[in-house]
């Protein structure tokens, strides 16, 4: 009543964006380089942050060039850091908008959006006697969260990275090794070649007896699943996949209207508004020429092309598209 049409929170956000009851946000407090292309971001979360379990990830919404983009990163700090902050460790991937921004350009003081930590790539309550961590590249990040959180009597890690200096947290890992808390094999793929999971037994003879957490590129995880399945111990293997679906933007594709449950093939030149209407889906519309924003609809999966500029938009949570000027750029899912 006092602030209509705004909410009191719209005003409170001006002064205290991290207060209890606000949308969950965080403030970047430091960016610490780890390797040439990876950095650890120290985040002070808002009051609503409920903490995390070692191995979980958190989705962060970062404004890159003015556009809010969401990505998931593993939490790399131990669970009960006294100062209430947590860290994520980000590796800049090629053409990665968010990762490059966080590693190279993010400034302390910046506000970011947060979701609560989630994911079931976590350690069980009851400590297993023997543990194996099988990781590659930035796949080490959730495992680092685990290593920093709890100790095991018998922990082995096999980690792949192109070269020694690409190994994120290398010093700390070797510290753990020196302290006798971890046995580590580094596979330097630039010189040693890719790890052949089928020959894992040569590195870790008792691998099949170990409770295993594996995280890395899809190829590695596929091979691991095959290996564990093949030896009849699939329940010992826990995997985490970072980017399950890679969107391939092409011209045209199968369009799914998920609310109505209809699917049709569309070419790369027909506006999705027409595609939907032709398929008998009730589509909101207005000007039909891209100026009124009366047709905006969530894009749940896939990619679309703006017919005016050729710009590709990929599905991400919260992404809305103007169906009257967008065409399918590969298979996509429209919430209608």
């Amino acid at each position: 009543m006092v602030t209509t049409p705004l909410l009191p929170s719209d005003y409170l956000d001006l002064v205290s964006p991290l207060r209890a009851g606000a949308d969950l946000r965080g403030r970047i407090e430091a960016v610490r380089p780890e390797t040439g292309d990876a950095a650890t971001i120290v985040i002070r979360p808002g009051r609503g942050w409920r903490g995390h379990t070692a191995g979980q990830y958190v989705r962060v919404g970062v404004d890159v060039d003015g556009v809010r983009l969401w990505r998931a990163y593993s939490v790399t700090s131990p669970t009960h850091r006294r100062d209430g902050r947590f860290t994520i460790t980000v590796k800049a991937i090629r053409d990665g908008k968010v990762s490059n921004h966080l590693v190279r350009r993010a400034k302390p003081g910046t506000l970011i959006q947060l979701d609560q930590a989630t994911g079931d790539f976590v350690l069980p309550r009851a400590k297993p006697a023997k543990v194996l961590y099988l990781t590659a590249g930035s796949g080490i990040t959730p495992v680092m969260g685990m290593l920093r959180d709890s100790e095991f009597d018998d922990a082995v890690m096999v980690h792949c990275a192109p070269q020694p200096h690409d190994v994120i947290f290398r010093e700390e890992l070797h510290g753990l090794v020196a302290a006798g808390k971890l046995r580590l094999t580094e596979v330097h793929t630039a010189t040693d070649g890719m790890l052949d999971v089928a020959r894992l037994g040569e590195l870790v003879p008792d691998w099949a007896e170990r409770e295993t957490w594996a995280c890395g590129p899809a190829g590695l995880l596929d091979a691991a699943e095959e290996h564990w399945n093949g030896h009849g111990v699939p329940e010992r293997l826990h995997t985490e996949r970072f980017r399950p679906n890679v969107v391939v933007a092409g011209a045209g594709g199968e369009v799914t209207f998920s609310t109505t449950g209809k699917s049709v093939d569309a070419d790369g030149a027909t506006p999705l508004l027409d595609v939907g209407e032709d398929a008998g889906v009730l589509m909101p519309s207005g000007c039909r020429m891209g100026i009124c924003f009366g047709c905006v609809t969530p894009l749940k999966a896939g990619a679309v092309r703006d017919l005016r500029t050729g710009e590709i938009t990929e599905a991400e949570p919260g992404v809305l598209i103007q169906t009257c000027v967008s065409a399918a750029a590969g298979p996509c899912d429209i919430e209608r």
């Binding site: 009543m1 006092v2 602030t3 209509t4 049409p5 705004l6 719209d10 005003y11 001006l14 404004d63 060039d65 003015g66 556009v67 809010r68 983009l69 207005g286 000007c287 020429m289 891209g290 100026i291 009124c292 924003f293 009366g294 905006v296 005016r308 500029t309 710009e311 919260g318 992404v319 809305l320 103007q322």
Partner: protein, 372 residues
């Protein structure tokens, strides 16, 4: 409608070429949209909220005349910012590209009695698609005024200077009624349609909340300053209404702006659509502050060409657009606010009286309009 078609010298190819050149201007802005633009709108929103808070705070003591003056002025400016540079432009989707759900055309609500959703329909969709097409774009005279010599005169029109003045004072209510298409929908059978009723209820709710805030809760909070605060909020709303009404009149009413016949837009090409926006809009010249307070609708021509480009970019776009007007020998209607307001009001007065039929014969007119 002028007797001479100001675009008659353009060939169809030229019109399409013009369209391509305008597309290029648009693409350039879109490619360079970024962090600074996002920072701009966030800064404006934050400034507006602070100004409103402070002004309402000052009005708690409006029993003291200086506080009344200060608070009323601040609140007027805050309300104008909310409606113009922020609300109007966000609701156009100008900032949707930021993907910030809080600054998005689908979630924004403004300090106005017309609910955002209804306004988006009548403004973004009808007015912007059918700009200045008589019978399709109701913004031409808001259905209560005669705005062109060709429209049939009716004794009702004698009063239109008065209607226009009243509409200016209570502009937000005028807009709400207009968005509801109240006149048309009050006919017997339409009044009952569930769709209309739902929309009318939404307006009712919005009015109730706005009135409660401005005329009950806030004055009550002011205690002994109850009456002065009430007067202050009323004044701020009045100022905001007259201001936005004036700015909007300047957009399409001044002399030199063209209107179009229904038939002229059948099968319109992209180039022709652009041309219609160019000929159907007028700008206001002035300082940066002036552009800001009009929500950059002083760049009405640019806004009509590119309604979804961020408002802070219209000034730079205007330079290029104006060059195109010159290149294609078209008249870029612009002038300082007083001149444009005067021009628009003069038209309102002039057309309140009957006029002689235009000199051009019907078949010729039609050709001219098709060309437009």
């Amino acid at each position: 409608m002028t007797a001479i078609d100001p675009t008659a010298h353009l060939t169809a190819e030229q019109i399409e070429e013009l369209g391509r050149e305008l597309d290029a201007i648009r693409d350039e802005v879109i490619a360079s949209r970024g962090e600074q633009d996002a920072a701009y709108i966030r800064k404006v929103i934050a400034a507006q909220r602070k100004l409103e808070l402070v002004s309402r705070g000052v009005l708690l003591f409006s029993i003291f005349p200086p506080a009344w003056v200060l608070g009323t002025a601040g609140l007027s400016v805050a309300k104008i910012m909310d409606n113009m540079e922020i609300g109007h432009n966000i609701l156009h989707g100008q900032w949707d590209w930021m993907r910030d759900p809080k600054i998005h055309s689908t979630t924004w609500e403004w300090d106005h009695v017309s609910p955002a959703a209804q306004w988006k329909h009548s403004h973004n969709e009808l007015h912007h698609t059918y700009t200045n097409v008589i019978g399709k774009d109701n913004d031409l005279g808001y259905g209560i005024m005669r705005v062109d010599e060709d429209q049939k005169w009716h004794p009702f029109h004698l009063g239109q200077p008065l209607w226009n003045f009243v509409n200016a004072c209570f502009f937000e209510y005028g807009i709400a009624a207009y968005d509801l298409e109240l006149g048309r929908n009050l006919s017997k059978h339409r009044r009952k349609s569930p769709e209309f009723r739902a929309r009318a209820r939404a307006v009712g709710r919005k009015i109730r909340k706005q009135v409660l805030k401005d005329y009950v809760v806030h004055p009550l909070l002011s205690g002994p300053s109850f009456l002065p605060t009430l007067a202050a909020t009323f004044t701020a709303n009045l100022v905001r209404n007259i201001w936005s009404h004036s700015v909007i009149m300047c957009g399409h009413f001044p002399e030199g702006v063209q209107v179009f016949e229904r038939r002229s837009i059948n099968g319109e090409t992209r180039g022709q659509w652009y041309l219609r926006q160019m000929m159907g809009s007028a700008n206001i010249s002035g300082s940066k502050a002036m552009h800001f307070m009009t929500g950059n609708l002083s760049h009405q021509i640019e806004h009509h060409l590119f309604p979804d480009l961020p408002s802070n970019r219209y000034a730079e776009v205007a330079v290029k657009v104006r060059a195109l007007f010159e290149k294609y020998e078209l008249e870029y209607v612009t002038g300082p606010l007083p001149k444009q307001v005067y021009s628009a009001w003069r038209k309102v007065f002039r057309l309140s009286l009957p006029n002689r039929k235009p000199h051009v014969k019907a078949p010729e007119r039609e050709r001219e309009l098709v060309a437009a």
